[in-house]
């Protein structure tokens, strides 16, 4: 500015900015905290900036959230790991505010910093902070404390470890359900750092208490972590301590609990040996597959393949397959959809005979399901299907399903099937494709929804890549170019889109002889939108064709467009001309 540079006091700048009435300005300054810190230097950052921030905690939650996040990466600015502990004070305050997002972020930042701190600092600075929060008067502090134990614990000496475990135990029995919920959802993290003997005694006791809590919400979170906890235990301990709880929960009155079990069961299996799976978990799982509540069946059905993979084929055929049959006829479409998305994975587990005999009928009935998502989920796993039963058996059932989905009234369904067309083409081969699906691919180009037309154009590109330019020249290009005479300008736009995508795949020669003339012709369209899209397509074709063609055909066309009465057409034409110049200059 004009005035002579006045001396600059970084802290004063910050203080001033944080006083501003406009929250966006305050937010901007907090986002630039690191600039201030670097301008101050490490010493003054520690002695001036951090103490100021520790006291400036009365701002909007939005600003506090940004501060909590910035402080998490502040270690380099305070002078590295040996000084990291100065950051604990402002973050400790942020751990106690009301807003959940701010607290969570502060805990996250504390964990980041704590995991870099030196052992001694952890014992002398970090652990006392955890203890203070755990003894906090308001629940917010205690909720935050639960997420910090796993950082403090590993480096603590024996007596301190005992104390930390006992404090966590108290948090599990806190008066406020908010705190117990936090303790429940963080238990597995803490458990991962605790020695095996204490794990079996103290932690498992906490787990059992939490699973018997008065409040449903607490029990639910305890179940959620049980698989992670189970993996920390020896299989026999897991079978003795966790299994009974889960089997019990799988029959809980609340569907939410059963739902959670259905989600966790498979993970838990990984922590158990085969015997308890057969005797306890399998029956529990079968019950969940037949649960009254559709949500539970959805969760269970989604795990059916994973579960079969850890069972012997005999058990899978004997116990799971009958349920799968029932689920394929379930009254809830969402259950059938969940099943359809995984059921084909069972084929390799069951082996060819059982697959053809038992799984195939299920598969075919799902492929004819009245609910489009179900069919779609099957088709999306087509490669797996093909491996097991071969395409011949499949194609006669497949085609009607595809045709129907291609015309579904929900455009998202149509979109999904278009996206699977390249996969289908790959699996089914050229012959099948030409006969049955070629027409559909053209039809989509004239869909009334933009996303479908766009996806259809992309699809043509993928097909051209899959089957090669010769095939495309014969089966795609002529039909596509016909659209140039369509009376609807949106269809003509789609043609331009398709050309810009196909050009690079088809190569210079075909582009020049077949595609470019159509584009040049379109530059005389009466609709300005077409004309500026012509300019865009020409720009994209510069790199495809030879320099001579650019000069002879593309440039004159763009020059003409650059004098168009429409401002947008002129804009894109000029853009195109500029990129020609750039290419010429660089070459």
């Amino acid at each position: 500015m004009s005035t002579v540079e006045a001396p600059l006091y970084p802290i004063a700048v910050l203080i001033d900015e944080l006083k501003n009435d406009d929250i966006q300005l305050r937010l901007n300054s907090i986002r630039r905290l690191s600039t201030i810190a670097r301008a101050l230097g490490e010493d003054r950052t520690r002695s001036e900036l951090i103490p100021f921030l520790s006291e400036n905690n009365d701002d909007d939650d939005e600003v506090l959230l940004a501060m909590a996040e910035e402080l998490g990466v502040f270690v380099p600015y305070v002078g590295g790991v040996e000084h990291a502990h100065v950051l604990l004070t402002p973050l400790e305050t942020l751990c106690t505010v009301e807003e959940t997002c701010v607290r969570d972020k502060a805990v996250e930042s504390l964990c980041k910093i704590g995991s870099q701190m030196r052992e001694n600092d952890l014992i002398e600075r970090f652990t006392p902070l955890v203890k203070r929060l755990a003894a906090g008067e308001w629940f917010t502090a205690r909720v935050s404390a639960c997420g910090l134990f796993h950082i403090a614990y590993p480096s603590a000496p024996e007596t301190l470890k005992t104390e930390l475990r006992s404090i966590y135990g108290q948090l599990c029995q806190d008066d406020m359900p908010m705190v117990r919920r936090s303790a429940a959802s963080n238990l597995w993290k803490f458990a991962g750092t605790v020695e095996s003997a204490h794990l079996k005694a103290d932690i498992m006791q906490m787990f059992e208490d939490l699973t018997q809590d008065d409040q449903d919400t607490v029990r639910l979170l305890a179940v959620e972590g049980c698989a992670a906890l189970g993996k920390l235990l020896e299989p026999q301990d897991c079978a003795a301590r966790i299994l009974p709880v889960i089997v019990n929960f799988s029959q809980d009155k609340s569907w939410r609990v059963r739902y959670m079990v259905a989600n966790q069961l498979y993970e838990l299996c990984e922590a158990l040996g085969p015997e308890p799976i057969r005797t306890d978990l399998l029956p529990a799982y079968v019950r969940l597959l037949r649960d009254n509540e559709a949500e539970v069946r959805i969760a269970a059905a989604g795990k059916v393949t994973k579960f079969c993979q850890i069972l012997s084929p005999e058990l899978a055929i004997q116990h799971i397959l009958p349920c799968v049959k029932e689920l394929s006829l379930d009254s809830s479409q969402h259950v059938r959809a969940a099943l359809a998305s995984v059921v084909m994975g069972m084929a390799p587990v069951l082996g060819k005979d059982a697959t053809i005999e038992q799984l195939l009928p299920i598969f075919l009935s799902l492929l004819k399901d009245e609910f489009p998502d179900v069919r779609l989920n099957i088709i999306s796993k087509l490669d797996q299907v093909n491996q097991v039963i071969g395409i011949d058996l499949l194609s006669q059932s497949l085609l009607p399903a595809i045709v129907e989905l291609a015309e579904d009234r929900h455009w998202r369904v149509r979109l999904a099937i278009i996206e699977y067309i390249p996969l289908l083409a790959n699996q089914l081969g050229v012959g099948f494709f030409d006969d049955k699906l070629g027409g559909l691919c053209m039809q989509w180009l004239q869909d009334k929804v933009y996303s479908i037309r766009d996806a259809a154009a992309k699809n043509l590109k993928h097909l051209a890549e899959e089957f090669g330019p010769d095939w495309a020249m014969q089966h795609i290009i002529p039909q596509v170019l016909e659209i140039a005479n369509d009376s609807h300008y949106l269809h003509r736009m789609t043609l331009l889109r398709a050309i810009s995508l196909l050009g690079p795949v088809m190569g210079s020669e075909i582009t020049c002889s077949k595609l470019l003339p159509v584009v040049v012709n379109a530059s005389k369209d009466r609709v300005p939108n077409i004309k500026f899209n012509v300019a865009k397509v020409l720009q994209s074709l510069i790199s495809v064709v030879d320099q001579s063609v650019v000069e002879k055909t593309i440039r004159p066309c763009l020059v003409e467009l650059s004098e168009d009465p429409d401002v947008d057409v002129r804009y894109f034409a000029v853009q195109g001309l500029q990129s020609i110049d750039q290419v010429t200059m660089s070459s």
């Binding site: 500015m1 540079e5 600059l8 970084p10 700048v13 900015e17 009435d21 929250i23 300005l25 630039r32 600039t35 201030i36 810190a37 670097r38 301008a39 101050l40 230097g41 490490e42 909007d60 009301e98 807003e99 959940t100 308001w138 629940f139 406020m176 359900p177 908010m178 919920r181 008065d214 409040q215 449903d216 919400t217 029959q251 009155k253 609340s254 569907w255 939410r256 019950r287 009254n292 509540e293 559709a294 949500e295 969402h334």
Partner: protein, 520 residues
Amino acid sequence: MLKQILSKLPRKSSKSADNREHGGHHNAYYSNVSGGGSRSSDFGTGKSGNLSVSSFAVSNSTADVGWKSADLKQNGNHMLSSYEAMPAFKDVPTSERQNLFVKKLNLCCMIFDFTDPTKNLKEKEIKRQTLLELVEYVTSANGKFSDVVLQEIVKMVSANLFRSFNPQPRENKVIEGVDLEEEEPSMDPAWPHLQIVYEFLLRFIASPETDAKLAKRYVDQPFILKLLDLFDSEDPREREYLKTILHRIYGKFMVHRPFIRKAINNIFFRFIFETEKHNGIAELLEILGSIINGFALPLKEEHKVFLVRALIPLHKPKCLAMYHQQLSYCITQFVEKDCKLADTVIRGLLKYWPITNSSKEVMFLNELEEVLEATQPPEFQRCMMPLFRQIARCMNSLHFQVAERALFLWNNDHIENLIIQNRKVILPIIFPALEKNARNHWNQAVHSLTLNVRKIFNDLDPELFKECLLKFQEDESKEDEAEAKRENTWKRLEELAEKKAFHSEATVGTSESMANGSSG
């Protein structure tokens, strides 16, 4: 209630013996009827003849009763065996009535599946009738309810009411996702039974024969917690009953009062800080409104903490509209009881003031007016600066309802007086907002309201007005300069930071400074 007295016609079914073990001992009364015959056709099975509506007592020892196993899906393996009505109370000697009452309570512990309306029609009707008899009995009871009776009552109520709500069907969420706002509340299909059970519980709690000292052993903390869980019901009829019942419990069971308040707090905390989803906040606040109304003066510290920690943060969730009326009532109750709380409340509102949600902002302004109405000058002065910065922002809102609502504050005599007394502080804060509106607010009403307010100040204190105008013009001319200065300051800070970084690296050591030098 059952008018027909019917002939005794015990029947025997072909069901297996292990069914009997389940149901046999409940089944002291039978004697049946083909009176239900007209309905039995709904069943369409040969078994329907076994169902009986009875009004005749037979001695306990009879084992030879009609059996029916119903395919209840409830928790897998409940067998519905021999579900038969019992005689009316008036048809048994007075001495027998209490026993009969307990037995009827037991009968009503059976839960039916209402998701299939064609299932167990007969049994459902029997239970409905029995529940109605229970309501009548409780209402007309004389003589305190005994320990055993209390226990059985709570058992029956718990068995019926305490259930986990079904998830919302996914169809509602996914396909019809667009008009979630106009969504019909989902009605519990089991309501024909639930309603009577609620009615029964209400009459029981309200009955002078229910002695709180005895009953508190069964109407205990876990019972209350479960009752509170039900407030999340989607069915407004259910929440209405719960509200009345919980209120009665609060009134009658003095020992439970602190616990109930604490438990409600916990629901609020979870709602505010974790889920933002709960159907019964309005009902809970309605109860609290009447509780707060009864608080003695001076207010206890505990209650003030409740105001600050729970009620004020309740302004945060986005679904505030669902319970704002009740919340606003609670808040104003506090301020009316103790006007010293006004600035705490106002600062709280400012903390949670909506940034992008205009309809919520209008609610805040409505509430603000009610609070200000009860605010005295000392508290007003304590918070007027941040308050009027916010009001100035509202006046400039592009949403005309927000701007209009903010300007309406001047229509309130009490508030206008407070403003006028403190105009030296307030006018400089809101002047730029007034000026901007007067120049170019798009809405005609906002425009003319602004001119009115401006006129009030100008007529009252022309000198101050002129001063503010000059200051505003000066600031305005410097606006660009201030912006440029800010940018320059940050640029210089950035340069300073670079320089420092370079120096410190230079001192650290050559290899490191070489490595970082290029990036710095």
